[in-house]
């Protein structure tokens, strides 16, 4: 029996000669990640063991992005813990404010996530890098501390679900709509503990930005990892990114024809409308045409899910020459400094500011109810983020609706959830 791409990567990082779903294995980790919320806990666990040195200062990434720039004294203290640890252990990939970005946009952009890599992050959206054909998964702080010490971690080999997407997605339909639709179909625990392998011709039409969005939200279906086999689009992306990191070697894996899947799901997405997830689960999905009655107070465009250049281009296309509705505040978060600069060069930031949007430095900001756009009681936001749980963006009686960037931008103009065609 053959192996899936996920199984092949795990097998390539462990000492055992064969594996099957359910096996517990120990793997060598190529790269590990922590942020200003999860790393301080990992650092204290690391120090408690009495370890003097990290396993490899080149394979640790520390990104202050959640409560950064510091939102208050307590978060400033946490950021300081990160900074001092990075300095003490000469962590190569520590990104200071002004040079950073939201971790899951930053890591692939810096050429640190490559096909065939095994990556863990103390952040649930670490599953994003599956889009380059890596195995990547979110873990907790203690797991991260164990990797700081040993460079290794235990995994249970997951079963894989194969998702096959047929057809060519419509204009205004992208990765976000495909993954929201999928979560709506399988539910928030539909892929619990499993690998989600995204395949089919529809995927091959998508840009890397769209593919990152799809893999990013695998966790929202309970998935252990999301993964897409590398193709020409992937290889072109990693070729450019590798120039930044200087990485020369990586390994492209593909699933065997006789690989075993616990389930196969097939969808034709050629008639799919843009999707909107209603409160308070990412699986509570409806087509945008059924959401047009919903008035919004705030629009958030950004996050590790949809803050990349392709997302900003889409939003700018809709907002160009338009004005944000008088009762709406729209806040835009380019995900990294490079994306921000690119958006400046392309004139996108000018479009946003002329339309009446606020543009922020990269930060996770309001996505997790951190800062820079918290909702008051009874307020409602449409956001390109990844979760709409109760109280996620602020007050427990506020609401979050999830969508793609074009729908969010159109909603900013209309003051209610809108299809981009209503604005353009």
């Amino acid at each position: 029996m053959g192996y899936t791409i996920t199984e092949k990567i795990l097998l390539g990082h462990t000492d055992v000669k064969k594996i099957s779903p359910g096996d517990f294995i120990e793997c060598k980790v190529d790269l590990c990640l922590g942020n200003d919320i999860t790393a301080p806990l990992a650092i204290s666990e690391f120090e408690r063991t009495g370890a003097k040195k990290v396993f490899d200062k080149k394979r640790i990434v520390l990104v202050p992005d959640h409560f950064a720039p510091a939102k208050d004294v307590k978060s400033a203290e946490q950021l300081k813990v990160l900074r001092e640890f990075a300095k003490k252990h000469q962590i190569e990939h520590y990104y200071e404010i002004g040079r950073m970005g939201i971790e899951h946009a930053l890591i692939p952009e810096e050429g640190l996530a490559m096909p065939g890599d095994l990556i863990i992050g103390a952040d649930s959206h670490a599953c994003t890098y599956g889009a380059v054909g890596a195995f990547s998964t979110g873990v907790g702080s203690t797991d991260l501390a164990a990797v700081f010490v040993s460079g290794r971690l235990w995994f249970k080999v997951p079963e894989s679900i194969k998702f096959v997407y047929r057809g060519r997605p419509n204009k205004w339909v992208g990765g976000k709509d495909i993954i929201l639709f999928t979560i709506g179909e399988v539910g928030v625990d539909g892929a619990l503990y499993k690998a989600m392998e995204f395949t089919g011709e529809a995927i091959s039409y998508l840009s890397m930005d769209d593919r990152f969005t799809i893999c990013n939200m695998a966790i929202e279906a309970g998935g252990k990892n999301g993964i897409i086999e590398p193709d020409a689009v992937t290889l072109e992306y990693v070729r450019r990114a590798a120039k930044k990191s200087g990485r020369k070697r990586y390994k492209v894996y593909k699933s065997d024809k006789d690989a075993e899947y616990s389930e196969m799901k097939e969808y034709n997405v050629s008639k799919l409308e843009p999707q909107v997830a209603f409160p308070s689960l990412p699986s509570n999905v409806k087509p945008v045409s059924k959401a047009k009655h919903v008035k919004v107070d705030q629009v958030v465009i950004g996050s590790c899910t949809n803050g990349r250049i392709g997302d900003l281009r889409l939003a700018a296309k809709v907002l160009n020459g338009k004005k944000v509705h008088k009762d709406v505040r729209a806040i835009i978060f380019p995900a990294t400094q490079s994306i921000y600069l690119q958006a400046v060069k392309e004139g996108l930031i000018e479009v946003f500011i002329k339309a009446g949007c606020a543009v922020s430095t990269p930060s996770c900001g309001p996505c997790l109810g951190g800062h820079l756009g918290i909702l008051a009681e009874g307020e409602r936001s449409i956001a390109t983020t990844n979760r709409n749980f109760v109280g996620r963006m602020g007050h427990p009686k506020s609401e979050v609706y999830l969508s793609n960037p074009a729908v969010a931008a159109a909603s900013a103009v209309k003051g209610r959830i809108a299809h981009p065609e209503e604005v353009i």
Binding site: A122, T142, D143
Partner: protein, 162 residues
Amino acid sequence: MILKGRAWKFGDNVNTDEIIPAKYLVTTDAKELGTHCMDGIDSEFSKKVTKGDLIVAGKNFGCGSSREHAPLSIKGCGVSCVIAESFARIFFRNGINIGLSIFESKEAAAGIEDKDEIEVDASRGEIRNLTKNEVYTSKPMPEFILELIKAGGLMNWVSTKR
């Protein structure tokens, strides 16, 4: 080890934003986190709960973010264990890693009602409902996980291997 206390019943898909909202993630202190435990669902929970009480929930408990602050806050407010029909993956790892007792049991999740008196024989995974006089079994932990628990958590296990 015998765990004994009142059950606090919650539904399906209890997420980490509800267990410990992000605004409290500016500390790593379990006691302080404990004072905000379950704040997203019931802001009075940490005041009402007494040491030893149990959380009983439905499917996919602890879904959402990877924040280890979630199991830490549960431990920090004195809850002795969590029983659920199923756990989200990262919460499951975190629970094991920090030494929070967790039990997966569909029958217990269905049978136990709010405020029932519960006794858990942790080593045998046997859950007794003293109020309703019922006994439920939990899904046995895989051998590897038992090894981790026996070593006293992940960091101890890693240290023994160094």
